[in-house]
């Protein structure tokens, strides 16, 4: 378990990446953070932009808890994470395990992968039509059980939820693919040893597979979380954040600030807030995979 220290080869492996990142990613990002502290005339205003944004109705709307959606873009993103993240991990892992060794498993995986591959312009329309009262499968299906049909994306209390469930369809392919790769790399020896010890499938799953997949789970969780915080395309094309802001999300609000209100400073604030959120979440996750882990 020894580690090489400061080998001269480290530079060879790391330098190209760090240089590209510095130029094409870090610099633009830095500039954005910079302008969040200024107003449109170029005067330094410190945290004033931040308080303006955080107290605006579009970002947090606490009265929504009594009257119904909208609750504010920030709250919506949190709800999105709370529902979508566990679903993605559980579904992704289950499907990856289920489809391992199934006949035509890669075809099924491609079907799940369809969601990742679909251009948003059609993905959004698909979700709208899927949930439409007259045109949608969801209502036809629910109708079989006697549920009243309605167009889910059009009502404030169900708009966000329909988007979230639609996005599960779209994003699960990501976790299935990464988990599949992880499953392929678990040495067969472990499974054989477990069988010799008399462990059943569930025990094998929980005591061997899940722990060994932990680093992959960290990646899936982090990437999914980030995707949920950054979600824009699908909301923009489906409901444009409506009705009445009931499905608004931070990235969409940022877009509205930047490209509709032409207020780049407030947009930069939202971008920085999103980054801070990500930091809050991802650093502990990243730390959790310590290097001396097997």
């Amino acid at each position: 378990m020894s580690r090489k220290r400061g080998s001269k080869y480290a530079a060879f492996f790391l330098l190209p990446a760090l240089i590209m990142l510095a130029v094409f990613v870090i610099y633009p990002v830095g500039r954005t953070a910079y302008i969040s502290f200024f107003d449109e005339n170029g005067t330094f205003v410190g945290l004033k932009n931040y308080s303006k944004v955080l107290t605006s109705r579009e970002i947090i709307d606490l009265s929504g808890f009594s009257r119904g959606f909208p609750l504010g873009a920030l709250v919506h993103n949190i709800i999105w994470v709370a529902i979508h993240l566990p679903l993605t991990i559980i579904l992704g892992l289950s499907l990856a395990v289920l489809l391992k060794g199934v006949k035509g498993g890669s075809i099924i995986k491609s079907i799940v992968f369809l969601g990742m591959v679909m251009p948003m312009i059609i993905g959004g329309v698909m979700i709208n039509f899927m949930f439409d009262r007259n045109l949608g499968v969801v209502n036809a299906f629910l109708g079989l059980f006697g549920f009243q049909a309605k167009s889910w994306t059009v009502y404030p209390d169900s708009a966000l939820l329909s988007l979230i469930f639609g996005s599960v369809w779209l994003w699960t392919g990501f976790s299935v693919i990464l988990y599949s790769a992880g499953l392929e790399t678990i040495p067969k020896d472990y499974y054989e040893a477990a069988k010799l010890d008399g462990a059943g499938p569930w025990k094998t799953f929980t005591k061997i597979t899940i722990p060994l997949l932990k680093p992959i789970t960290v990646v899936v969780a982090t990437m999914t979380l980030l995707w949920e915080l950054k979600i824009f395309d699908i909301v923009y094309v489906t409901t444009a954040g409506g009705p009445g802001g009931a499905s608004n999300v931070m990235a969409l609000q940022m877009y509205i600030y930047a490209f509709r209100a032409l207020d780049f400073n407030r947009a930069a604030v939202v971008a920085v807030i999103l980054t801070l959120f990500t930091l809050l979440v991802s650093i502990p996750l990243v730390r959790s995979v310590r290097d001396d882990e097997r």
Partner: protein, 274 residues
């Protein structure tokens, strides 16, 4: 045991069938005229399928998808291979070497994942403009490569932590240097992960619309994703044409995924510590 196998297969395929239902709606739109679908695509009272939407999309007079496909491949293939190579090396570096500020650099890499593309639109354009890379595929490729680096590095680094160092140690004792070890021992084992990262990165570069929109605008150079919205007018929207175009756009990443699946599944089905 056989029964369990069969049951499992049936269950898996049922899930697949349910999963594909939303997509069927899209598919129906490409084949059938719109007025047949107004009461739901599962309605087959009138059924007149036609493939002309696909032909129109492929040969469209102003936004032909066949040219778009070539252009997008020119961007997507390097835009996948470059970051894969660089990030796999970086991921390996982060997982095997100890050096000052290692954790911080790594966190920096992860932070860069956090930003939505829209925020950086203006700085990126100005940067590309000063490098004289506007309306050039090279600029777009570099940009996609740079933005692919964080997540691939993160994934590969985590992946490498699951691979025990025993094999590397053995090779080192035999006198091989790190670079040889990387290419001869590590890469083959990492193929499933590389394959997955490849499929995903390709999909993301292929599907990108926003960066292409800001940086590419000669009509000839437009990528395939930019051509799809050109098929819709302000008031006249031909959903059949659009859906057919979308399906053509989707086919390529799916094919790449299937290709990669066969390639790396064939090669490595679990490996053992000998």
């Amino acid at each position: 045991m056989k029964i369990r196998r069969v049951a499992l297969n049936i269950f898996a395929w049922t899930i697949a069938l349910i999963w594909i239902v939303p997509f069927v709606g899209v598919f129906m739109t490409t084949l059938r005229p719109l007025d047949e679908l107004i009461h739901g695509w599962w309605n087959f009272d009138s059924f007149h399928p036609t493939l002309e939407n696909f032909a129109s999309a492929w040969n469209h007079p102003t936004a032909a998808l066949k040219k778009g496909m070539v252009n997008s491949l020119i961007v997507a293939i390097p835009g996948t291979l470059i970051p894969l190579m660089i990030a796999t090396m970086a991921g390996y570096g982060f997982s095997r070497y100890r050096f000052p500020l290692r954790k911080s650099f790594f966190i920096l890499v992860v932070i860069t994942l956090a930003l939505p593309q829209q925020t950086i639109a203006i700085p990126i354009f100005q940067l590309m403009n000063s490098l004289n890379l506007i309306d050039s595929y090279l600029g777009l490729i570099l940009l996609h490569s740079a933005w692919g680096l964080p997540w691939i590095t993160f994934f590969m680094r985590n992946f490498f932590t699951t691979i025990p160092v025993a094999a590397e140690e053995a090779a080192r004792i035999d006198g091989a240097n790190d670079i040889v070890i990387f290419f001869k021992i590590i890469l083959p084992v990492a193929l499933p992960a590389i394959g997955s990262a490849c499929a995903l990165q390709f999909t993301w570069v292929w599907s990108d619309f926003f960066l292409a929109l800001i940086l590419i605008y000669s009509p000839d150079k437009l990528l395939i994703t930019q051509r799809v919205p050109l098929m819709r007018g302000v008031y006249n929207v031909d959903w059949g044409l659009l859906s057919a175009a979308a399906i053509i756009v989707m086919i390529v990443p799916i094919l790449i995924y299937l290709l990669l699946q066969r390639y790396y599944i064939k090669g490595m089905v679990g490996w053992s510590l000998k």
